[in-house]
Every structure is written in C-alpha cells, then in structure tokens.
Amino acid sequence: MGAEPTARLGAPRTAREADVTHPHPLYCVWELTLACDLGCKHCGSRAGKARPEELTTAQALEVVAQLHEVGVRDVVLIGGEAYLREDWPIIARALAERGITVNMTTGARNLHPERIQQAVDAGLSSISISLDGLERTHDALRGSPGAWKAAVKAAGDVARTRLQLSVNTQLNRLSLPELPDLARLLVELGARAWQVQLTVAMGRAADRPELLLQPYELLELFPLLVRIQDETLLPNEIRLFPANNIGYFGPYEARLRAGGAEGRHWSGCPAGQWALGIEADGTLKGCPSLPTRAYAGGNLKTERLTELLTRSPQLRVLRERTRADLWGFCAGCYYADVCKGGCSWTAHSLLGRPGNNPYCIHRATQLSQRGLRERVSKVERAPGQPFDHGRFELIEEPIPADAQSPTCVQPLDAETMKKVLRKS
C-alpha cells in the first residue's frame, strides 16, 4: 500500500492567498503522446497513433521550464499512454527536480514493474489507473481483452511502492451498476483515492451516445456515490474525488466536492485560470479535455507560455466568464455567479458552446420538483478527429408517468449494446 498520507491529495492545486493576489495556473494535464496501447470506446482524443508532430525531448524540457516559470505546482502526465514515449522518465524527472508534483494517469495495459520503478526513480508522486468497471465491462469499454487483468496487476504493483495509488473511472451506462463492487476492489488494491468522471460526448463517446447517462439520471448517481463513500471508501481511508464535470451544489456538494474537504464547494470551471492542458504537439488549451478546434490557444513550440496566458483569447474567454455569458437554465440559476455554468467541456461537447450544462444535480432536482426532466439526443455526428464532438439536442419533457422513482438508470438491451461496442 502506498505510504503517502491522503491529506496531501490535491494540496498543490489548492489556491493560496498569494495565488489569488497574482492568479496563475496551478496544475497542468500534459498529453505526452497520442500513441496508445488501448482502443477505448469512450476515448475523447481517439487515441491510438502518435500525433504527426509531437514535441521532441528538447522541446518538452523547454515546456517543463516554462511550466515552472509560471508557477505550475502539479502536472499530470497522460496520453494516449504517456509511458509509450521512451523519454517520459526524463520529462518526469525534470518536473520533479523543479519541485513540481508529478502524477501519471494510465490505462496500465503495459505498466510493467520496470516502468513502475522508472516512475519511482523519476520522482513521481502518484499513479492513477483507469478502471471502468469489472473485468468484462472494462475490457469491452477499453477495447482490449486482458486490459482489466493488466490494470489490476499494475495497481497492486504500484500500491507496493512508495507511489500513491489512485484509480479513475468513467461513469456511464455500463460502469454505473458496477460501482459498488469496484469500490470494494479498490480497498483490496490499496488505493488511496478514486476519481470518477461522467463520460462526455466527445471523440469515440460521441459516436456512442447510448453509453451516456442522461442528465436526470444524476438523481440516482449522487445518492449512489454518497452511499459508496460512506459504506466502503471512508472506512478504508479512500477519498472520493468527483471530477469537475459532476455538478453542482445540492445536498451532496459538501460531502463530495474535493474529496469531501470541509468548506469546499464548486466555484466555477478552472480552465485557463488555474488549469492548463497541453497536447502532445505543443497545443495549449485551458483544459486538456476541451475541443481542440475551439480552444487551442497557441503552440508551445513557437510561443512562450507566459505570453499565451496573457494574450490568448481562447484562454481568456474561459477565465473571464460571468453570469452574462450563461444561457438556458444556467442563466437564471440561483448559483450562476459562482458556478458559471459548470464544466465548459461537457457543455461545449453537447451543445456547441459553454455556459449551459444539463449535467447538474441542482438543475435535475429543481426540474423534477416541477415534474420535468432533461435528456440529450444526438442530432449531428462528430467528424472523427481527436477531441472532436457532434451536437446534441436538449429536450425538456414531463417525467413519464411510468418512470421509476426517482429515475432508475435503464440498461441497454443486448442487441443495442453489441451495436454500440462494434461501431468504428
């Protein structure tokens, strides 16, 4: 089991007084390569092959220096699969030597003990392994037989080092029923933290809308998460971290947000303000998940990070959002001034622009009190590029008289499921 105390989880990302006085990015999620040894059915970046012009080692080390220069304190290495870049330990060590907390998020299909030792030697703090359910669900979603066994093996190996083991899980129609069992597996593996995020209609997930939960199904998801937290996670000192696209307020906010840290609440999309995302070719975004076409704010091969932070409109538009930029339900919401429409990535991927996010427990609850619910329906397909999206229609409708209470998540029938997973 990892020896690091759970108390430091998230600490580098917490804004201090000095950060507020002089705001700067606190953390960065860095796609080292788009090459991947999995073919996940929900992959937003459609990872598989490396990008044509990925950063060289020298360019990557220059990015390290610039991240340090602007005050980034926490970097998460992702892919594709970050460890498929042979120089990843060099990049990781360069970050760690500058005092930056370095983590890796991985599907772990080939995270062998040798690579885990490389992570230890390079100074990583934690490794987060993706587990999207139990074996058959995980392997189906990850597009690779044996992926689950490999990930579980690697998780156990990580937990036996000084690295902190975290697990991350996609929440969708396949994984949701398995969350309680998955939580129990985390206990066995020695995980210290669990991040869960809604599968968003981006990339390959946009090709498979059947996988997505509907907004009204958050009314089931939140109580389930709290139950798992209380029954399984807290007694075993595992902290649950709902991602930024699991929103917002309502009766569970204080218990779930930021791992249940006392006094925390959602306070708006951090993209472009506290967070950055870098694609493997040096493209800079305010958040790694944002659609590239709309939010690419420059390229670190040719432009300096300090300059891009100041003048890039693609970054500025995110951090300067106000209530006036919101629309739909969010524009009139009680929490609008704080929430600012929740996750930009989720809203933009669905509806083509941020500022109106139906995946919100407060919103779903308010609507249900009026006998209403919202669902999304795909009306335009995604073109097939990394970090692309289609377009969805948002439908507000009366809660059907025969709907189960509150709104049980409905499984897919077998034929539909086969079609969904076979799509190319």
């Binding site: 073919g39 009766p251 006094g263 499984p411």
Partner: protein, 110 residues
C-alpha cells in the same frame, strides 16, 4: 466578491446559500448571526474558512433525492442489468470484448 459569490451553508438544510441570505430560499430557516460553516469562494479554486465540525444532511423542502441512509428507490440489484455480459461473439462461439477501433495492435509501443 459579491453577496452571490460568497456562499454559506444553511443552518437548517445545510445547502449552500448566498452569504447575504437572512432566510434560506430552500427550507425557510432563519440564518443565525454566526453561520455554522461559511466558505469564501474565489474566482475558481476555493479558499475555505471553516468552523465547526462536519454537518449532517437533513431533509428539506429543496426536494432532495432520497438520501443513502434513507434508502433509494434504485437499489443496486435493480440496476445490475448484466449488460457487461453482452459482448461481441467470439470465434469459439462464446463472447469476448469487441474489436478495437482506431486503436493500435496489442503491445504496440508497450
């Protein structure tokens, strides 16, 4: 910061409410002069100034979904659909995870 960006938790229902609220808009509880737990929101991250210990969640007029310890209508058994067994047909007549699309062959690069 404005009164609508500083949030506190209602002394009655524990929901987040604007710091300026004298009465909770959700449950109607009058807010005391010393809120049990107040937090100050920053533009994005948060800087929390807290007092008192963890608070329980109580039922309220907000219309909360059933709480975990109160039971939910959607029990685990009801949503355990078995969909994970619906994979693609395998050559041996059984089921297996469906083929990779857009990914790379097993072991490539790893």
């Amino acid at each position: 910061m404005t009164s609508s960006t500083v949030l506190q938790r209602c002394v009655g229902c524990d929901l987040h409410i604007h710091g300026s609220e004298q009465v909770c808009p959700f449950c109607g509880a009058a807010q005391t002069a010393s809120p049990r737990l107040r937090s100050r929101s920053l533009r994005a991250g948060v800087l929390a100034v807290t007092v008192a210990g963890a608070l329980g969640i109580s039922a309220c007029a907000y219309g909360c979904p059933p709480l975990p310890d109160g039971g939910t209508a959607c029990g685990e058994a009801e949503v355990d659909s078995g969909v994970s067994s619906d994979l693609c047909p395998a050559e041996d007549g059984g089921l297996e995870p469906c083929p990779v699309d857009g990914g790379v062959d097993a072991g490539n690069g790893g």
